[in-house]
């Protein structure tokens, strides 16, 4: 009995040590952004002083510089606008497609669905060279419209896949009953299926929006002017003047952009993961 109790205590300690070690390793850079955000330059660039604490009074100077003397807010606005537009395009393309593949096309609907999912695996670093030509041909270079056009390439396939799973879980009888009552199939889709699928749609909205904020390669490739930049490229590119890094403001920008997205994503996490597991988990 005593041995059993000792073992439980030991397992508890091992459990907590593991949790703490992993949490510290994974979350440390964000703590580091937080503390750098409020440090004075004299403190930030002091080689000998203990960097874990404030050696001088905390300051809002870095935030002030970020907000008033850089294009940070402009990048936030650009990213938000692109996010909203890409969410709209994604829903417009993915909702009907997912419904058709889940309900109307029988067995090869499933196959086609897996095929579409596989296109999600084709990475930006394979397509960016030809797409840069396409963007230039359409005259969209250096504008946010270039990424509005291209971002749905990675949001649409995954959203179709997520929504397909979602529509399949809705009982067919519901639509059959509505169609007996005189609705057409398409009416049943948008008057009945869409309203009861709101939580699935919300999942796609959040997923799409976070993917837009996380994207780097396409925005870097297609857009060069500072004021048309997206958040993820603007911060690491334009907060560095020549060789001078404005570390305090940089870290503030990273923190401000990361945490809200993290909170949003975290809320819907389980649903995204259901999409990633490709049916290997039931």
């Amino acid at each position: 009995m005593v041995r059993g109790a000792a073992r439980t205590v030991f397992q508890n300690i091992a459990h907590w040590v593991t949790v703490i070690v992993f949490t510290v390793l994974l979350a440390f850079p964000f703590y580091w952004m937080l503390i750098a955000t409020f440090k004075q330059s004299s403190d930030l660039y002091n080689i000998t002083a203990n960097p874990f604490i404030f050696n001088a009074k905390p300051t809002l100077e870095n935030l002030h510089l970020l907000i008033y003397e850089t294009r940070f807010l402009r990048w936030v606005a650009n990213t938000t606008l692109v996010g909203i537009l890409v969410v709209g395009i994604t829903l417009l393309l993915a909702l009907p497609a997912a419904y058709a593949l889940a309900r109307l096309t029988g067995r090869w609907g499933q196959r086609l669905g897996i095929g579409i999912f596989l296109t999600y695996l084709v990475p930006p670093t394979l397509l960016f060279i030809p797409l840069s030509r396409v963007v230039a041909l359409l005259g969209l270079q250096d504008t946010i419209w270039s990424v509005v056009l291209v971002y749905p390439t990675f949001t649409v396939p995954f959203s179709i896949w997520l929504l397909m799973g979602f529509f399949k879980s809705i009982p067919k009888e519901l639509e059959d009953a509505a169609m007996v009552d005189g609705l057409s199939r398409f009416e049943a889709f948008y008057k009945l299926v869409i309203p009861i699928s709101l939580s699935g749609i919300l999942t796609v909205v959040i997923f799409t929006f976070t993917l837009v904020t996380q994207e780097f390669v396409y925005a870097l490739t297609f857009i060069s002017p500072e004021s048309n930049q997206m958040l993820g490229v603007g911060v690491p590119t334009f907060l560095i003047r020549g060789d001078v890094y404005f570390w305090g403001s940089l870290m503030a920008a990273c923190l401000i952009a990361s945490v809200p997205i993290g909170l949003l994503y975290n809320t819907f996490l389980d649903r995204f993961i259901a999409g990633f597991t490709v049916g290997a988990v039931k």
Binding site: T23, A97, P123, C254, I261
Partner: protein, 315 residues
Amino acid sequence: MSTSAPPSQSPKPRKVGYFSTPAGRARRLGVAMFAPAILYIVALIGVPFVMAFLYAFGDVRVGSVGYHFVGLENYRHILQSPTFRKALANSFIFTITSQVLVIVGSTILSLVLEKSFRGRSFIRFLVLLPWVAPISLGAIGWKWILDSLYSVINWVLVFVLHLYKPYAAPMWLGEPTLAMASVIVVHTWRLLPFSTVILLAGITAIPKDIPEAAAVDGAGFWRTLFQIRIPMMLPIVNVAVLFGIIFTFTDMTVVYILTAGGPFDSTQVLPSLAFFTGILGGDLAAGAAISLFLVPLLVLVAWGMLRMAHRAEVV
């Protein structure tokens, strides 16, 4: 097997307005509903994919007009370049090392996070941050941590552990081996949370009674872990590895931000080299040719995914 429509031995009755039968109408509506998405995907994934192949065997540069097929000319140039060979080797080192670290780490972390304990949801949020935060910004955070002068790691090494003299501490991003190690660590940091949540989803689907029964039958903690729990996790580990390989092998963000491929191309990988050659250098043909080296691995992963989806469908 064939419970669907009988094979078309008598096509005549079908011809009478197939599309006006209920099944035909449903199919027509189905096609109309997914056509826009398919068209978009073909136009902006399918066509560029084919263009990448055409470019790789042609002579396209930024601003050039027309297209000449040059066969394997681009590849002859690329394969002779030491930078390319370095990048190819680095891509594999980078992917394999970080994936091994990710799988070991995420297995441990997922087993720990599976139990419910106070504050678990907060811990989960913290642990997930590296995956959900934009990677270009996370990488900038690391760049500050690994800074040549103000690195916090160096401060600890110099002033706490007294392992180095001031100004003589390691240049994390400035020496080839250390730079490669840094890039690998940052990528592991980024993918570990993703892999962990996938494994967590898999673990919660494993029936609880099997490990419990084994424990009742006298199997100890380690034996239950290595002979029952981990083997039962294997299918879901496969999923995590397949995605992990794609996300690592095709990524250029971490390298671009931390080292831009340097010092002396020691951290150059295929995607970053394709970017520097094709986009910044303007040699679209060579860039496309380099990025096509990603394709064989993508095909392998897609094949793995298909097998898994097939198995999920059959079971």
